[in-house]
Symmetry: C2
Subunit: 309 residues, 2 copies
Amino acid sequence: MHMPNKYTLAVHGGAGTILRSEMTTEKEEAHKRALRDALRAGEAVLRKGGPALDAVEAAVRSLEDCEYFNAGRGSVFTHEGHHEMDASIMCGKTLGAGAAAMVQGIRNPIALARRILEASDHVLLCGPGALAFARDQGLEEAPPEYFFSEFRYRQLEEARARGSAQLDHTQKYGTVGAVACDRQGHLAAATSTGGLTNKRYGRVGDSPIIGAGTYANDLTCAVSCTGYGEYFLRGVVAYDVSCLMEYRGMSLAEAARHAIHHRQLALGGDGGLIAVDARGNVALPFNSEGMYRAWVREGEEAGVAIYRE
Amino acid sequence: MHMPNKYTLAVHGGAGTILRSEMTTEKEEAHKRALRDALRAGEAVLRKGGPALDAVEAAVRSLEDCEYFNAGRGSVFTHEGHHEMDASIMCGKTLGAGAAAMVQGIRNPIALARRILEASDHVLLCGPGALAFARDQGLEEAPPEYFFSEFRYRQLEEARARGSAQLDHTQKYGTVGAVACDRQGHLAAATSTGGLTNKRYGRVGDSPIIGAGTYANDLTCAVSCTGYGEYFLRGVVAYDVSCLMEYRGMSLAEAARHAIHHRQLALGGDGGLIAVDARGNVALPFNSEGMYRAWVREGEEAGVAIYRE
C-alpha cells in the first residue's frame, strides 16, 4: 500500500427485478452508456492520481445528472409530488463521513453530503435544515422542473392508485453508488437515491446511513449498497462486509457474498452491493434479478453488466 | 436459552463530563432515583415474564418523562428554540427495528419508534412525516410548555451567545437508553435523545440509527449508546459490539470494552454504552468522566452509579 497502486472503480445504478422482457436494446444501451460515463467521470480523477473520495463523488454526480436512475435528476416522486433525496459519502482514510436525508431542490445531493463531510461538525443533516446548510454553502439548486419526468409521474399516479408506497414499477431499487481505490491505496464510497415512489411519512432508507448503505475503511473495504432499504438498515450491511473482513478474516469476495447471499437472504431482503478493497479486488454481488453495474481496474478494459452472468 | 432465563436490565441517562464539583447531594440523589424508577418500570414487565421489547420501551418512557435527562420532556432546545427528538428501538428476536428522527411535539418518541416497528413497513421516519404517522396512529402529543424548562432555555441562550451548537453545558451527552434480556432469552435495545443544545441544520446523531446508537440480536447482544454522536455514527458502534462477539468470538464484556476504550478512543469519540447478552451478562463501559447508569439481574440487588468505580 506504500507503493503506487493501480486504481479500481465500480459504480451501480440500482438492483432489483430488471426484466429482459421490458428492456429494449436501445434502453439497455442507454443505461450502459450512462454507467460508462459515470466510470469515465471517476476515472478522470483517479488517472491523474486524485483521491478516491473525489472519484466516487464525480461518478455519483454523473449518475445523479442522468435521468435514467432514481437519484438526483431522475428521482421518483413522493406521495405529495415532491422529490426527497438522500445521499452519503465516506472516506476510508480518515473515516470521515457526510450524509443528507430528505433533501429537496439540490441538484447533486452527493455534493451536499461531501460538503457536510468537509465543512460541518456533523455527519447527518436532514430535511429543511440540510437545505439551509446547502444554501449557506452555495451548493447548486435546481427547480422542480429539473426533476420532473413524465415516466416518474406516471409511476406516482399508478402507485397512488394502488395506494401503497412502492419501489420503481419494475421493482428496481433505484439507487446509485460508487466505490473506489486510488493510487495511494485509499478507499471511498458514495451512495445517492430518490427513495421510493409515493413514499410518505418522511421515510428514509439505508442510502444516507453510514454503516447501512455506505461504508469505507482503508483497512478493509469501500461499500455502496442498493436494495430493499429497510432490510439493509436492519442488517447494517455495508459495515457488515467490513466486519466480516476485519474480524473474521474473509476476503472481499467472501465477505460481500456472505452479506448479500447469506445474511440478507436470511433476513428476507433483496438487492446487492458494490465493493472494492485496497488490493485491487472488486466484488459486485446481488441476490435480485439484475443490478446495473460497471467496473474498471487501471490498465484493464471496463466491464458493464445488467443481468446475472 | 430454552430454559426460563433470569432477566437482566440496564438503563443509562447519558455520559460525559459529569463534574462532582457541580453536583449537589440532592441532585445526585434525584438522578439516581430517576434511574431506579426507570429500572422498576422495565422490571415490572420482565417480572411478569413479559418481553424485553416491552421492558426497554417502558424503561425509556420513564426516562423520557423525567425532566433531568435530555430526552422526551427534558430535551434541550434547538437553535430555533424548538425540541427535535430522535429515538430508536430494536428487537433481538426478529431483528425488527423502528426509529424516528427530528420529531416535535410527541410526548414519548420511544413509543413512536415502537409503533414504527409494529405498524409501518419502514424502519426510519423523519421530521414532519414522522409526526404525521404518529398522529395517524393516535400517539400522545404534548404542547411546547411540556418540554420547556428554565435550565434548558438558559443553556440555549449561553450556546447562542457562544455561537456554536454544543452538548449540554456540563458536556454531558444527554441521551437515555435501555437494554434487556427477558426470561425467554430474547434481547431488546432502545435509545432516545433530545440531541444537542442549539443544534442547527437538521443535525441527527447516532441515537435513531440502527447499528450506530441501537442494536439488538438474540445471538449476540443488545446495545444502547450515548456519546459524541458523530463519532458513534462513524464507528457504527452498537453493531460493532455485536460483530466483535459474533465474528471475533469476544465475550460481551470484551466486545463492549473494545468498542468504547479501543475503537472509539482511537477515532477520538467519547461516551459509553450499556449492553446485555442472553446469558445474564451486563457491560457498562464508558471512556468519559461519568455515565448515569443502573442495572439489575433477577433476584439480585440493583446497582446505580454515576462516576467511575
